[in-house]
Symmetry: C2
Subunit: 454 residues, 2 copies
């Protein structure tokens, strides 16, 4: 949806070339910040800085947040100090921190120099939290109310201070030491009697997280508890910030992308695909490819070792790709299903027996179906001797059983010992299953065929 | 986080056995609905219905929404008509619709009979929208205000009608035909002068979607535009409902799970893993396994066809698993990266040339590294003749190039012709790449080795 229609882009480009700046200003003002950011990215190099100055101040700041970091950097470099100060003043704390985290050191120095002292202090504090922690994704702009405040006092207080806050829909009640006591929504305050106090109105049962909580857990809580905002407290239970649902959604997408990358044996990168350099892509892929290539050596060694057995019939060698592919596919079905269930919090180590019991039954059903279908095909279509076909299909059944067992077990074990289960997805499972099923294959072939031939 | 600690579970079970119902009521009242739902699922069969009646009415309703459908069904069956009516009255419209969609027909009839006429009408209307459309995930409970209303009138109106609405933080301004004119937040109304009208206060630039919009697009918009709520309009631009951020998050998770399932060649299912029956798992996996097994027949046919060439050295046959695995891994790295970028809206068909240029360079770098590493290993460790090692490594380079090219192209083409790109992930790519690289392998071997031998 944030894609810019090409007819629309042409219109804007024409207006730009014809220097119809007032028209452009009016056009941009009808758009959402994310759309404006996408549009600016498509225009000639000098256009963004110029158009940015034309836009209404608030739209400009919101658009700035939606830009990718290359464009933000270029824009900041084109700003005068006063302009930079103006943009920074319009930013919410969490966006300012994101900006500082992504800019090179010289730009960061300029940003910190132009930020007002209070913002500079907050940025520096937020930067102290470890990456991927609740502290690193929270904003320090929330409305805090004291317990004795009445509803009408609270509304006055929100009217006075709330304009700059990221959200006023959810307000927090704190004591004089900033300890979190409860939560009260703007809706409750508006609907209350004028003289009811925050203490009476607040909900005491507040879900909160500590600053060091993992961001993935924080995102899960938004989904489990249907939250719109989540308060963050320090070790002394003092309220230090809030995580907004927008920040949580970003984390969810980031984590899903990470899981998917790991499942395909890629080291996750933060940047969008088209912005990632060829060398970064290379670096994120080559170590896994080398590792997996070397481990595939084992399958090669097994084949060399059983040369005598395999030479019994070319049909045996011809079946190897099918056995390996099917084993790999079965294993990745199980591992990916289990990995996703783990990451959605539906599955835990204590469920291991349940998982085994389920997967073994599924594996039996899949294995028997596949072996039977393959047997019929080998006999009727390829007209292979029944003994060879039996060897192949018996191996297939065992390969499916092993693949599903290994596929469902390894991610759960990895999770238990604190590893990321997503790494235990298809490529690793495939390599293990390949070696095991080749061993079984050659073993069966040795027993059933060369024994029979002798 | 929604996992129930086992010590805590033991406490609750003891309280239940000792019939300390008042204590249980107090304990449950301190918990979040999602936690209560998880807890009830762990207790003896007759406990949920009993505890449910003990809980405060609102907590009970919120807990009901968080339960899985089996438990909801069991609970409804245990309800008297009056109890059912009570629970239904506390539900938001979108939750009531979800419930009706998941229950068997006889339970649905009872629900519709006990729902009040207005709710029955809304449920029936919402059920008419196609599955996975914006209409099917929206709620009809929102605050609509007329443009001439002043801020103080608006607050009076919200106080009167707002209690039952899913959100009052965002209110919509509509004309007398219910046409959507603008949006105004509760915050803006609270902060405004008493006599300012909605027309003056509202933001006219509202992002909205049509009832038939795909739910995945709707979820994307929440993330692209940082929304908390999104209005849904019918063909005549009349406001008919709103999608909440909680509904959007559910869709995001559902869609990510679907993508991941398809990438591993599994037909997606809606239910959590542990709740899915063995037969359902079997049905979602076996068609793909059969299809992929049959297509692996081609690789077998290639091997049979080139029997003469492969018999030149067992080292050639031993290299087949490594070539196939590496090709498969390279292909799935590219396809998965591209599929994720497509589903995050970062990539479009028009970027195909950019993707090719990027992937070809990455493939060259990966291919050369892998071939070189493998060549050294074959010569120094396995002491294979340089000619055979060259054949294997040359094939490896080509296999990587082909794998990355096919891997990045197929998902983009699938997307272009309206197929789900996630289906074009590892298993399919692997099968295609396997066959192509085996052909190249046997071709090279024929040219370089048997030619040299002759």
């Amino acid at each position: 949806m944030s894609e810019i229609n090409s007819a629309f882009l042409t219109t804007v480009e024409k207006l730009w070339e014809e220097k119809k700046y007032n028209t452009l200003r009016d056009v941009l003002s009808t758009m959402q910040p994310a759309q404006v950011a996408d549009l600016l990215a498509e225009l000639p190099e000098n256009a963004p800085a110029m158009l940015f100055r034309l836009m209404p101040k608030e739209l400009a700041a919101d658009t700035f947040v939606e830009m990718d970091s290359d464009m933000q950097e270029a824009l900041i470099k084109s700003f005068s100090d006063t302009e930079l100060k103006g943009v920074l003043n319009e930013l919410y704390m969490d966006d300012a921190v994101d900006l500082v985290e992504e800019m090179p050191a010289n730009v960061v120095r300029r940003i910190l120099a132009q930020a007002d002292p209070e913002m500079r202090k907050s940025i520096n504090e937020l930067l102290k939290y470890p990456e991927d922690s609740a502290g690193s994704i929270m904003t320090t702009e929330f409305v805090a109310l004291l317990p004795h405040l009445t509803a009408s006092d609270a509304i006055t207080s929100i009217r006075r201070t709330g304009m700059d806050k990221e959200t006023v829909n959810t307000c927090y009640v704190i004591d004089q030491y900033r300890k979190l006591l409860g939560v009260v929504t703007l809706r409750t305050i508006v609907m209350a009697q004028e003289d009811q106090t925050m203490e009476e109105l607040m909900e005491e049962n507040v879900v909160s997280v500590s600053t060091l909580e993992d961001q993935e857990t924080v995102a899960r809580m938004f989904s489990d508890y249907n939250l719109n905002v989540l308060p963050v407290v320090d070790k002394e239970s003092r309220l230090v910030g809030i995580v907004t649902v927008a920040a949580a959604i970003d984390v969810m997408e980031e984590e899903a992308t990470e899981d998917i990358s790991k499942m395909a044996a890629i080291t996750p990168t933060d940047k969008p695909y088209l912005k990632t350099s060829v060398f970064t892509l290379y670096k994120s892929r080559i170590p896994w490819l080398l590792l997996l290539m070397l481990s595939a050596t084992f399958t090669g060694m097994i084949i060399t070792h059983f040369e005598g057995v395999l030479s019994f019939s070319i049909a045996l060698t011809a079946a190897i790709p099918m056995l390996m592919d099917t084993g790999g596919n079965c294993g990745s079905q199980s591992s990916v299903t289990v990995i996703r269930a783990l990451s959605l919090g539906e599955l835990h180590f204590t469920d291991l027996l349940k998982v085994w019991w389920k997967e073994i039954r599924v594996a039996m059903m899949c294995g028997v179906t596949l072996a039977a279908a393959n047997f019929v095909k080998l006999i009727l279509v390829e007209r292979i001797s029944p003994m060879i076909a039996a060897t192949i299909c018996l191996t297939l059944l065992f390969a499916v059983l092993i693949a599903k067992f290994v596929g469902c077990t390894l991610p759960i074990l990895a999770d238990k010992i604190g590893f990321d289960p997503a790494v235990m997805a298809s490529p690793f499972i495939t390599t293990i299953v390949d070696a095991l099923s080749l061993l079984i294959f050659c073993g069966f072939a040795g027993m059933l065929l060369t024994g029979a031939a002798a």
